[in-house]
């Protein structure tokens, strides 16, 4: 019996995690990516391994997804994670007013939470704002974005998946009756076009999902929503530092290697290919970030960049739920052979892949169960060392 063949468009977090899942379920997998691995939103993600604390009050579904996946990722891919926890800190009276619902919501979402006195918090993290009024410790973490993707991709490669980077999709192939049967691609390294055929095409292009669905005549299922990040050249803290309040601009500072990274903002954009950085947004990060860690004012920027979230659902900016959506376009528009996965966030990449692989398996009558929760990932270096 020949294996079913899945083409995945996009080697960001969802693409590589879906490749890993489908390879384990016995698929022949080909991933096509127009740039190098993780060159879009995923590579530029803030790097917060969410405990779910940030979403607990307003979006319990997201929060529960986060804590569940946070726990799984710590087990299957510890090689890319700084697993040092996080603090939510209150600086002003207004922050304290948020504390009660924060505690209740975290408990409802089974997010472990310990309250600290200001003295205890300052002892743990001497560089946070000395005006701290209250603090909670939660199981946040930090990850290296590229290496997180490489670990999934490398393991997928080990299990037979093929990765074709610098390969841009030019169009969808159909059977003339509306079923998608493959893609036409341009190999940008050799400047040659080629047709690739598959039993199913998975659109895992995140904020760019509308460009692929557009090739099938369908509307974009996603709203590109960029935000800024500013890295500074000193590691002031060991834990992720969050402002204890309703999520807003510049209210998370993450440690990573010898840096901290302040993020972020949230606004709508049309074309996610290039989002310019503005001085106003840099200033917001400096002002808000230094409320959490005053020393940032004396640090030097070491990287300033925009990342474009793929947000699904109604509303705009921060009011959109962070959960992901997987569309079988046969169900939604009568177009067979095409599945789109978008939305979500880095922390939930494995869960997004599981859902997508479930949809793909159901379409093709494959009954193999998902085992990615229990499968430790191989060294991220395997992505480069295994020949394509």
């Amino acid at each position: 019996m020949t294996k079913p063949h899945a083409i995945i468009i996009g080697a960001g977090f969802t693409g590589v995690a879906t490749a890993h899942d489908l390879a384990l379920r016995g698929f022949d997998v080909t991933v096509v990516e127009r740039g190098d691995i993780c060159n879009g939103t995923s590579g530029r993600t803030h790097g917060l391994l969410h405990s779910g604390g940030r979403y607990a009050v307003k979006d319990k579904e997201s929060a529960i997804e986060c804590i569940d996946e946070n726990t799984i990722l710590r087990k299957i891919v510890p090689q890319v994670i700084e697993p040092n926890g996080g603090l939510f800190i209150a600086i002003e009276e207004g922050d304290l007013a948020y504390a009660e619902q924060f505690i209740e919501s975290c408990e409802e979402c089974h997010i472990q939470l310990d309250e600290l006195t200001p003295q205890q918090a300052l002892k743990l993290e001497p560089n946070i704002n000395p005006k701290v009024l209250s603090a909670f410790i939660i199981p946040d973490g930090t990850f290296d974005p590229l290496r997180l993707a490489l670990a999934f991709a490398g393991t997928a490669k080990h299990n037979g998946a093929k990765f074709r980077t610098y390969t841009e999709v030019q169009g969808l192939l159909t059977d003339g009756k509306g079923t998608v049967t493959g893609i036409k691609v341009l190999d940008r390294a050799s400047n040659k076009s080629q047709e690739l055929h598959a039993d199913v095409v998975v659109n895992a292009t995140g904020a760019w999902a509308g460009q692929i669905t557009g090739m099938a005549g369908l509307d974009a299922p996603v709203k590109p929503t960029p935000g800024i990040m500013v890295a500074y050249d000193q590691r002031f803290v060991q834990r992720a530092i969050n402002r204890l309040n309703v999520p807003g601009d510049g209210d998370i500072v993450l440690p990573q290697r010898r840096m901290v990274v302040v993020g972020t903002t949230s606004f709508d954009a049309e074309n996610p290919d290039y989002i310019p950085v503005t001085d106003e947004q840099i200033k917001i990060m400096l002002d808000r970030g230094s409320e959490l860690i005053p020393g940032i004012r004396n640090a030097k920027p070491r990287g300033i960049y925009m990342a474009t979230r793929p947000l699904v659902g109604g509303g705009s900016g921060r009011s959109i739920a962070r959960t992901f959506k997987c569309y079988d376009h046969k169900e939604t528009h009568g177009i067979d052979g095409l599945v789109t996965i978008t939305g979500g966030k880095a922390t939930t990449l494995r869960a997004m892949a599981e859902k997508t692989a479930d949809v793909v398996c159901a379409k093709l009558g494959v009954t193999t169960a998902c085992v990615t929760k229990e499968t430790p990932l191989l060294s991220y270096r395997q992505y480069y060392t295994i020949p394509n």
């Binding site: 790097g47 994670i81 930090t142 610098y166 940008r188 050799s190 000193q234 840096m259």
Partner: protein, 242 residues
């Protein structure tokens, strides 16, 4: 008002079996932007065929190493102001000593294989980081915490190394530095891996690796320290202390 410069970005191009050549792109930039921003704008607005590697844009992933005006740089943290002037030309080329995939993108396979051979640590206890910045007295219990290692595996040191240019089998600066970080005392198998013709003794002490390292690894010093480890381990064996 944001300052504006007009520069010419001279980009190395090479597709498939072509010979290397250069394309010029005249562009307006803010000198405080990074070199990678200029390269990315060429792809976004001027020439969609350009291939280059990049991911994190803040010196944690190590993907965007290039030679900028002939010097190895991590382009995501190299301000344009630091490497050119208004009205001047800024030349970007792929790293040396790596096979070119296309244009500015290189194949990291052989290099990552060497990092794997020496079991380079991806994360390590924060107390084992040699210098912490700022130098604060971290609480005692921080010993349990982990930090991503300094080495970004960007390959700048391999590109700059005059020895790597002549002997492809040479382990090279980053893998040797990683072996020193792991330590022969912790992993005795490293002795055989680094104490050989293509290992720790091939380094000619040019120190180019340390000059271009964007991430405080100081490979040259670590290679010298690794030699001390090797001699110590061999003397230990000689006198039956291994």
């Amino acid at each position: 008002m944001t300052e504006k410069w007009n520069i010419t970005l001279r980009v190395s191009r090479q597709k498939d079996t072509e010979n290397q050549h250069f394309d010029d792109f005249k562009m307006e930039v803010n000198p405080d932007e990074y070199v990678l921003d200029a390269v990315e704008r060429v792809w976004a607005f001027m020439d969609r065929t350009l291939c280059y590697r990049h991911a994190c844009h803040h010196s944690t992933c190590g993907a965007c190493g290039m030679r900028v005006n002939g010097v190895e740089k991590l382009t995501c943290i190299t301000p344009i102001r630091a490497v050119t002037s208004n009205g001047a030309t800024l030349k970007v080329e792929p790293l040396r000593n790596f096979p070119v995939v296309s244009d500015l993108a290189v194949d990291m396979g052989a290099f990552y294989r060497k990092m794997e051979v020496v079991s380079a640590r991806a994360v390590l206890p924060i107390t084992e980081a040699e210098i912490e910045n700022p130098a604060t007295n971290w609480p005692q219990n921080d010993a349990q915490f982990l930090r991503l290692s300094d080495c970004l595996e960007c390959g700048l040191c391999i590109s700059a190394c005059p020895v790597a240019a002549t002997s492809p089998e040479y382990l090279g600066p980053a893998p040797l530095a990683a072996a020193q970080d792991v330590g022969i005392h912790r992993n005795p198998e490293l002795l055989g891996i680094v104490d050989c013709e293509d290992g720790v003794w091939r380094c000619h002490s040019a120190f180019e690796c340390t000059a271009v390292c964007p991430s405080f690894v100081d490979p040259a010093r670590r290679i010298m320290a690794l030699r001390t480890q090797v001699i110590g381990a061999k003397l230990g064996k000689l006198f039956g202390k291994a």
